[in-house]
């Protein structure tokens, strides 16, 4: 027989003003199984909690019902008090007589009536509550970081420095990401590579960081604390253990006219290549689509074509027959830091949301480049060794026009959002240009100057006031090649005048987009993403680096356009979250999970089909000699999130949800 205690709270006047709390306590005291029923001014106060504890001890209560505020407010408080008195905390529940009653009704009679009903329903439920214990799941105390740009490197270093192992996966042959391509960084004009390269080396040499370059995440199984990640190591065609990075292979490669990805297409590379001299690791990779050896082989030719790199290698490290390999890593937490790519103004777009810029010739006009290409022109390590020269004829441009918001903030092109960094890097570009070409004139067409950040507005002012950049508020409606120059037709919205001008070079500040394949990656990780492919954070204000999947975190520009300081801050935030998570040997979870009655389960597996988490497994039931008797469904308690959809789907009612069993709910309805 149950021995239930009912505790009715006045919440000062909040409840008592509308609900006759004494009457509630008195009525509920009459319910069968209730042996103690009282009301008190502040149940959540220390004396209030003490009342609960004392009553549990004194009356040997088997269940506690607190009629007070919302369980979202104080369920934890009263469960803790219950546990403090030695009773299982899950035998305590709350009836909501404040938010759902006293605050929303005026009639005292009706509100009191409703409070009695609500408490009675919970009493009936609690009579059928079972003692539950939190679920403990083991934690693999290492982390995976996807993406080796500045965000990924920072997250990996912080976690590794915090004492946990990190697996860092980068799809390109080298870590470094976009930051390694930049010339100088705003607002300090620091050399980007000078501040990044040491961090790349540190990540590479860190004893607790395991680096997979030229690799991609193939699949992800498991759940928080227990992810199993399969990584595809793409065939590099070069033995990483043997190669010493001497570069002899690149020197002899006959195929040297391939546009370099690192130089944003402005420089050239060979078919066997290291993306840039400071690459980490400094190990080349063969671009099989462009290497003559592999092209001949792909065409079915049996003749060995080329192979000069293998001959030149003194270490015998070039392996043409290398294959992709799959490796598995166990980790407890994952950081997604896959970064961004730039929007292309071409006619063909990879998303039906997007449209190109026909008015700018769909990217076919010579000397119209994007911001990353300008970075490479301005970079000392770039194709022009830091000289600003036009790609078409190598002449020094005396007039450069910068166009902001290309794609960004333009719903007609498919991107509504602001790419956030363009205002700043365009200001930087005008300064770099002026510093290198003193007689040159930079003109910027802008919509707004968004320079919020420490030292940012000062920086744009400097570009205008000290380096003489001409800022024109307005859009360019059309640009085209007119002989030697690029004709710009635009509009100055401040003076209301149309503008027609000539430029030697045009730089487009194209929008930041998430990397290609984000939807696929997000699906592998079961994290949500927006229509553009940016990963959604769990809460825009309070949980900015968590995702909706426990144990998966997000850092940098794959969440939304971010500059370097933002990305680094996010990365360190994920590291702190993950170090906190990995400081536990076990994780504790609410025991609200489903379980299967194996005696009645008919193995139809409807539950498996409706489970959003893949928590339902097939379990073999064997006799003593090991013969398979039958197969039943089984719920993985670590994966189950406790929604209960499987219960309502089960035709044989073989599933139960602890904390919300059919018996509990029916009892509550019966007391209706």
């Amino acid at each position: 027989m149950s021995r239930i205690g009912v505790f009715v709270c006045h919440c000062g006047e909040n409840i008592a003003r509308t609900v006759d709390t004494a009457a509630v306590a008195q009525e509920c005291g009459k319910l069968p199984g209730v042996i103690h029923s009282v009301d008190y001014k502040y149940m959540c106060s220390d004396p209030g909690q003490l009342m609960v504890k004392q009553a549990i001890a004194e009356h040997k209560l088997t269940g506690v019902v607190v009629a007070a505020c919302s369980p979202h407010m104080h369920e934890k408080t009263f469960r803790r008090a219950t546990a403090g008195a030695g009773l299982n905390p899950f035998l305590c529940e709350m009836a909501n007589v404040r938010e759902h009653c006293s605050w929303i009704h005026e009639s005292r009679t009706a509100a009191t009536e409703k409070a009695i009903d609500a408490t009675r329903m919970i009493v009936e439920k609690v009579k059928r509550n079972a003692p539950l214990s939190p679920i403990h799941i083991p934690v693999t105390r290492r982390a995976l970081v996807i993406g080796g740009g500045i965000a990924g490197i920072q997250a990996a270093l912080d976690i590794a420095d915090g004492g946990r192992e990190v697996v860092l996966v980068e799809k390109e042959p080298s870590i470094g990401g976009h930051m390694s391509q930049l010339s100088e960084t705003f607002p300090t004009l620091d050399c980007s590579q000078c501040i990044l390269t040491p961090r790349m080396v540190e990540a590479f040499q860190h004893p607790r960081i395991k680096l997979y370059t030229y690799s991609e995440v193939e699949s992800v199984d498991g759940y928080i604390g227990n992810f199993k990640v399969t990584i595809r190591k793409k065939a590099r065609s070069v033995d990483e253990a043997n190669c010493n990075g001497c570069g002899a292979c690149q020197a002899v490669c006959p195929n040297k006219k391939i546009p370099s990805e690192f130089d944003a297409g402005l420089g050239k590379r060979s078919a066997i290549y290291v993306p840039f001299p400071q690459a980490v690791p400094n190990i080349p990779v063969i671009d099989r689509e462009r290497c003559s050896y592999f092209r001949a082989k792909a065409k079915g030719s049996t003749k060995v074509v080329c192979g000069k790199c293998a001959e030149a290698c003194g270490k015998g490290a070039v392996h043409f027959d290398q294959q992709d390999t799959l490796v598995t890593e166990d980790v407890g937490a994952i950081v997604v830091a896959t970064g961004y790519r730039l929007y292309d103004i071409g006619k063909d777009q990879d998303s039906e949301l997007l449209k190109g810029y026909g008015e700018y010739g769909y990217g076919t006009v010579p000397d119209v480049i994007d911001g990353m290409q300008f970075e490479r022109l301005a970079s000392a390590s770039g194709p022009t060794a830091g000289k600003i020269l036009r790609p078409s004829d190598g002449k020094e441009p005396t007039s450069v026009v910068f166009l902001q918001c290309i794609g960004s903030r333009d719903p007609s092109k498919g991107i509504e959002y602001c790419s956030k960094i363009c205002c700043m890097y365009v200001a930087k570009h005008t300064m770099l240009y002026k510093h290198k070409v003193h007689h040159g004139q930079a003109t910027v067409f802008y919509m707004d100057i968004r320079a919020a950040g420490k030292g940012y507005d000062e920086f744009t002012r400097r570009a205008i006031e000290e380096d003489g950049a001409r800022y024109v508020r307005g859009r360019v409606s059309r640009l085209y090649r007119d002989g030697e120059v690029i004709k710009i037709l635009g509009f100055d919205t401040l003076s209301g005048e149309p503008i027609e001008m000539d430029a030697d070079m045009v730089v487009l500040a194209t929008a930041m987009r998430p990397q290609a394949g984000m939807a696929e990656l997000a699906q592998k990780l079961s994290v949500s993403y927006d229509k553009h492919g940016f990963i959604n954070e769990a809460h825009p204000k309070l949980r900015p680096v968590e995702t909706n999947t426990a144990g998966v975190f997000v850092a940098g520009a794959c969440q939304s356009p971010r500059d370097i300081p933002d990305s680094v801050a996010m990365a360190s935030a994920t590291a702190s979250k993950i170090l906190g998570l990995l400081s536990n040997e076990q994780l504790e979870r609410e025991p609200t999970v489903a379980r299967v009655d194996e005696s009645t389960c008919s193995a139809c597996f409807h539950c498996e089909r409706v489970c959003a988490y893949g928590a339902v497994e097939h379990k073999d039931i064997r006799d003593r000699s090991g013969n398979l008797v039958r197969v039943v469904a089984s719920v993985n308690k670590g994966v189950c999130q406790g929604c209960g959809t499987c219960l309502a789907t089960c035709p044989s009612k073989s599933l139960e949800l602890d904390g919300f069993t059919d018996a509990q709910i029916h009892a509550a309805i019966m007391a209706f």
Partner: protein
């Protein structure tokens, strides 16, 4: 029986007017929290609803609804997260399909489907929750008491 006493004890203010009893099955994350918000925002509504909190609309077995009618409910509200916003990704999609079918069953059983409200109320829609409650109560009030099962219960020994 509790139901009978509850009906007899209705407040004098509403004497003479039929006061329907409504059971609400709501999910913990959206509608329950939305109803909490209605409370903190002091959104006034009629007091005829008795609420059962569940983790997700996906948990709501249609048997609960029938049981509520059997126990004297004149109407039922089922409410959870908006499609696409489910805390458990897709529980409400399963619920939506289930309830689409259940409406057919209700017609077959002779329960007027207007007695059941299916709605989506998010954690930020306190005002909407008040509207759902009041609209359902008014609609069920107009339909009159659901007596079919009560009579049966009385006749059953």
């Amino acid at each position: 029986m509790s139901t009978a006493t509850a009906i007899e004890n209705k407040s004098p203010a509403s004497a003479g007017r039929f006061e329907p009893r409504i059971a609400a099955f709501v999910c913990n994350w959206c509608t329950y929290t939305g109803a909490d918000l209605a409370g903190t925002s002091r959104v006034q509504m009629m007091p005829n609803v008795r609420m059962v909190r569940l983790p997700c609309t996906g948990r709501i077995d249609t048997a609960f609804i029938i049981k509520a009618f059997e126990r004297g409910a004149d109407g039922v509200i089922v409410s959870g997260c908006h499609p696409g916003d489910c805390h458990y990704s897709e529980g409400n999609y399963h619920a939506r399909r289930r309830f689409a079918m259940f409406k057919e069953l209700m017609n077959f059983m002779g329960i007027d489907e207007r007695r059941v409200t299916f709605s989506w109320v998010s954690a930020s829609e306190g005002r909407k929750w008040g509207d759902v409650v009041d609209e359902t109560i008014e609609r069920v009030r107009a339909l009159g008491p659901f007596d079919d099962y009560k009579t049966l219960l009385e006749e059953t020994p």
